[in-house]
Each structure stands twice: as structure tokens, then as C-alpha cells.
Subunit: 336 residues, 2 copies
């Protein structure tokens, strides 16, 4: 029987706690790749199909009006819904090929708003370079809050690359942005008078609203023999901790290299009073691509090596920065 | 710019009006089959993959507590989320092979509730006979109302069957239930004291909460050379009008045959005071399978012939019952 009086709620448990409880109830035994990586996979008469799904919900993943006074455009919601899913396919070393989109909307939503969202979907596909992605269909329904769920299918040419293949002695590198979206979020959340934002700040806000995962870098990394791939959606430390755990290794980042990523975040730091390193270490939603390469690999040039993979000293995977433990808890968890 | 003051809202336009406005903005040119049928389709190195998505939203598609006092079980939400999507694949003549599920939940949701939903997913896959369906992954996020979006992938053995292939002179038939779910919905919506429901009424309520699309009938109909297939999700008249329009034909149903489907609905009619034919003609969500066969086809035995396909007399496709026009407007539209 349904029991709302049960002691444990999803809010108490966090994402991983919920998954640990429900995954054993779901049968994934026939999947080519079940839950737990950036995307799942299925074989269709010998060919592997990658599948990823993500939902954006009003007042959780975006606000129609931010505390800064900035309006969140439907266009940007459409853009992000595509970006975060094609990023998951990219993070398997694959290319996105098809999408279905389910829109739940209040009746009062303006038709122009929905058209703007559709345009954002189309432009994201084009400008992110997902030219092989086509919209296959969707669903449309009523709700009291806006919710957009996009499912993207993809395929790989060089085989899929998981989170779990990192080995001691490997190098860990990143392509794309890191920290921009987190800085942009703090600007949107906390600071009034968006008219005063300078160009550098506006660029960081754009990083939050229209993220640009480095498509193509996934397949290139796979072709270069990457041992592990994962996109950074919940923060560098949190996501690399997941990669480390899945691979049974530890990771040590180079503070000096990470500090370079903080440079471009300074205009937001000046405005908000935050330490820009917070955004580099814990900011999510840039959808940069983490890749782990063997130390002799030819690493594609868009990647910056930011650390190294080490053997675990005990039974726990550790993520450190210049040898000092980094707390993962500051990253993003939907239920904490 | 987003403009909530625009005159037209999605509530004004209805599903078709919204689709007419946004589909031209989305690029579906590379799809093997774009939006407009029960599912879309994509080619993966020569193999066709069917894709369908549907969302269930609290207070729109189900209520946690119905006016009848009946509680809606999470188990049933999980069940229906699978049922309606595997039905779409069935209605292409295909078999479901993989699913991803996105759950949006209030923080206060009990973990037991989520586990119950997962069990409903697993049991629907098993009891509906979708044994080849495996769960590939999903997404988990916070929302102020419960929302479940399931995307199902599938494949066909005998080629996909669209809505658009019906020809004048064909027979139209149905497999599975029709009217049960609509009768069950009226019982749930309007009548207190669920303790007084007899077994026949409880069976109709189960038809609403745990619908049973006739899986297997889609591939069998395809193998028998069905000219058109479509599942009845929004009502027999509304959905057959869509089929007629897509095929450029008219359809005439046999009242006497349809009346037989009304028989089993009488216990709900007695309780609610409704005419049971309303549910046969306009009740949705049974996910019965409409199939159109050439008049010499060997029709699989689980199908009941309920009418015939005729040439249009003018430019409009008509749906009639014993020659009298049937109004489609009583069926279900998410935005009217």
C-alpha cells in the first residue's frame, strides 16, 4: 500500500539512496548496458543504440524569472534540454541520432512561448554540431508547472567508453567549459539589476542558460583510446568521484591547472563575492567532458590535462587536489 | 522575447493546434518516420528503431486520492506508464525492447511509494507479455508534482504499420478492451464509498488503473497484412477519426457490434447514471488496438470486426455509426 507516512522520503535519501532502493526492483538484465553510466544501451540486431533521458522542471532546473530580474527564455530551456542529453551521448564516445521530447505545460502557457522553445531545440542541434540528430516525435500534456523531458538516442563508431575504465597511472583531462554555468547560476540567483552585467558576466550567464558541451570530443577521445569518459553535469569533484569509484581508483587534480579555469570566472566573483574556485570544483551544468587517457595516448588537442589517476590507498576511492581531500558534497544532488 | 501576454495560449489551441505550430520549427527530415503516428522511427545502420514517449502527471492523468475515496497506487502509475508506451509500439506492429524512465518527485514522497512504482513497472512488463523489454536507465529529479515520463524503444519483424494505409472496402477491427477504462474513470471521479463497488465495477476501475493493451496483436496483425494500425488512447471515435484522416477515407461502425462492448460496462452505468455507449465511443486509455484489414485477409482471432472503411464522399473524412455522424469532440484532448 502507498504510505506517505513512511519514515524515509526521497528528500532524506538523495539520488543515490533512491537508486539503490529501486534499481534492484527493475529488470535490466537484458540491457547491453543498464543504469549507472551517462547513458544506457540496447542492442538492435547487433547494432548498439545508446539512450539518455533528462527532465528540466520549472523552479528546480530553471526559473521563469530569476532573482536577478533576468527572464529565462523558453528558447534556452529547449536548448539546454538538447544540450544535456547530447552531452550524455558524447560522454559515451557516441553521436546523437534521434530525440523525442515530452512537454508538460500549464494551459495558460502562450503558444509563442512553446514556439520559442521549439526554436531553441532546433538551434541547439545546429549550433552544437549535432547534425545527425533528428526529432522523431514527442508527447504534449497539461501540468501545473512546466516540465520538459528529452530522450536522445545515439550510436558509437569506435565503441562506447564507460566511467569505469580509468587505471592507475592514467591522466585525466577535460574538454569544454568548467565553472561557467555555476558562476552564471550564482549571478542569476543572487544579484539584481541584470542591466549592469558586463560582457564577461553575460557570457557566464549564457554558460548556464545555453551550455555548449564539446560534441565531437567524445568520439575523438574514444578514437584516441580513452580509458574512461564522463560529462560534468553535477560538478567536477562530485562527478570525478563517481568516475573514481566506478573505476576503483583515486584521482588527484593539479590545483595550478584548475586555477587557470577560475580566471575567466573572476568577473562573476567580483559581482557576487564568491571564490571562483568554488565554481571550478563544484559548479555543474557546463557539460564539459572528462576523459581519462593512458599516459602515452595521443590526447586530442582540445583537452587540458588536469590531474592524474592513482591507485587507491585503502578501500575508498579518493579525489584530491594537490593531495588534499576535496569534499564532493558541494556538488549538485537533486534531492539534497 | 517570451511573451505571456500573447493572445493564444496552449489551452486555447488544443493538442493539434500546438503541434501544427511547433512541428514546422523542428527538423524531422532525417527521421525514418517523424512525428504523427503512434511512434517515431529511426534507422540505426539499416535497422529501424521505433520510439515512443508518454508522460503521466499528477492531477492530470491520475489523482493520488480520487473523489470516490479510492487511493491511486504508485504501482498503478508505474504499470500505466509502461502500458501506454508498449501499446504505441504494438500499434506500429512492433515489440518493445527497451525503456528509460524519468521520475520527477516532491521531496516528501515516501521511498516506499517510489519502490511501489518500480514494482508496477516490472510487473507490467511481465504480465503484459513484454518480455523483451528491459530498463536501460532513467533520470530522477525534484518537482512540486509527481510526473513520470517513459520512453520505450521497439523493433518490428514484419515492417511497421502506419495509420495511413486504410483503403475503401477494408474492414476495421479491434483487439483488447474498449470502454472499460472510461467507465472506470467515471466511477473513480464521481462516486464515493468505493467499499460498495461490486466485482464487475472493480474490474472496470482496474481497466483504468492497470490497462492491458493486447501485446502480440500488433505484430500478428502486421503479419496478417494489416493495412493500418493505431491504438485507442483518446477514444474510439476520436482516434478512428485520426486514422480516417491520415488514410484519406471514411469509416462506418456497426452499432450492434459496438453495443456488445457496452454490455460489460452496465454495472458502472447503473452506479453512475451514464449511458455505457458513451464509454465505448469516447472512453480512452484502454489501449485497445484498432486494425484495418483487406476484406479477404485472415484476421487474427482476437480481433472483432466493428465496421468498414468507405470512400470519402467529399474532401472530409467522416466517422459514422450505422451511417450517422459521430462527434469526435467527446474524446480526450489534453488541452481542451
Amino acid at each position: 500500500m502507498t504510505n506517505f507516512q513512511s519514515e524515509a522520503t526521497v528528500g532524506d535519501l538523495g539520488e543515490q539512496g533512491i537508486l539503490d532502493a529501486i534499481l534492484p526492483l527493475l529488470d535490466s538484465s537484458k540491457a547491453s548496458l543498464g543504469p549507472g553510466d551517462d547513458a544506457g544501451a540496447l542492442r538492435v540486431r547487433g547494432e548498439e543504440v545508446l539512450v539518455s533521458v533528462d527532465t528540466l522542471v520549472e523552479n528546480q532546473d530553471f526559473r521563469l524569472i530569476w532573482p536577478s530580474g533576468q527572464e529565462h527564455k523558453a528558447y534556452d530551456i529547449g536548448w539546454k534540454s538538447i544540450a544535456q542529453n547530447v552531452s550524455d551521448i558524447n560522454a559515451m564516445g557516441g553521436k546523437a541520432t534521434g530525440a523525442v521530447i515530452s512537454l508538460s505545460l500549464p494551459e495558460s502557457t502562450a503558444l509563442d512561448w512553446v514556439k520559442d522553445l521549439a526554436q531553441g531545440v532546433t538551434d541547439a542541434i545546429k549550433y552544437l554540431g549535432a547534425q545527425e540528430l533528428t526529432v522523431l516525435g514527442g508527447d504534449l500534456g497539461k501540468a501545473s508547472e512546466i516540465s520538459v523531458t528529452t530522450t536522445v538516442l545515439g550510436e558509437t563508431e569506435h565503441g562506447r567508453v564507460l566511467r569505469s575504465g580509468a587505471q592507475s597511472g592514467d591522466l585525466i583531462a577535460i574538454a569544454g567549459h568548467v565553472g561557467d554555468a555555476g558562476a552564471g547560476l550564482d549571478v542569476l540567483e543572487h544579484h539584481g539589476d541584470s542591466a549592469k552585467w558586463n560582457r564577461a558576466v553575460r557570457r557566464l550567464v549564457a554558460g548556464q542558460c545555453r551550455p555548449t558541451p564539446p560534441l565531437g570530443s567524445g568520439p575523438r577521445a574514444a578514437e584516441s583510446g580513452a580509458h574512461a569518459l564522463m560529462d560534468v553535469s553535477d560538478g567536477l569533484i562530485r562527478d570525478s568521484s563517481r568516475l573514481a569509484k566506478a573505476s576503483g581508483v583515486s584521482i588527484d587534480f593539479d590545483l595550478q591547472v584548475l586555477a587557470k579555469f577560475a580566471e575567466r570566472l573572476k568577473p562573476a566573483a567580483t559581482l557576487t563575492g564568491h571564490d571562483p574556485m568554488k565554481w571550478v570544483l563544484h559548479g555543474g551544468e557546463d557539460f564539459g567532458l572528462l576523459a581519462v587517457f593512458g599516459k602515452d595516448a595521443k590526447i586530442p588537442e582540445e583537452f587540458t590535462v588536469i590531474g592524474k589517476v592513482t591507485a587507491r590507498s585503502g578501500r575508498r576511492s579518493m579525489v584530491t587536489v594537490d593531495g588534499k581531500p576535496a569534499a564532493a558534497k558541494d556538488g549538485f544532488d537533486h534531492f539534497s
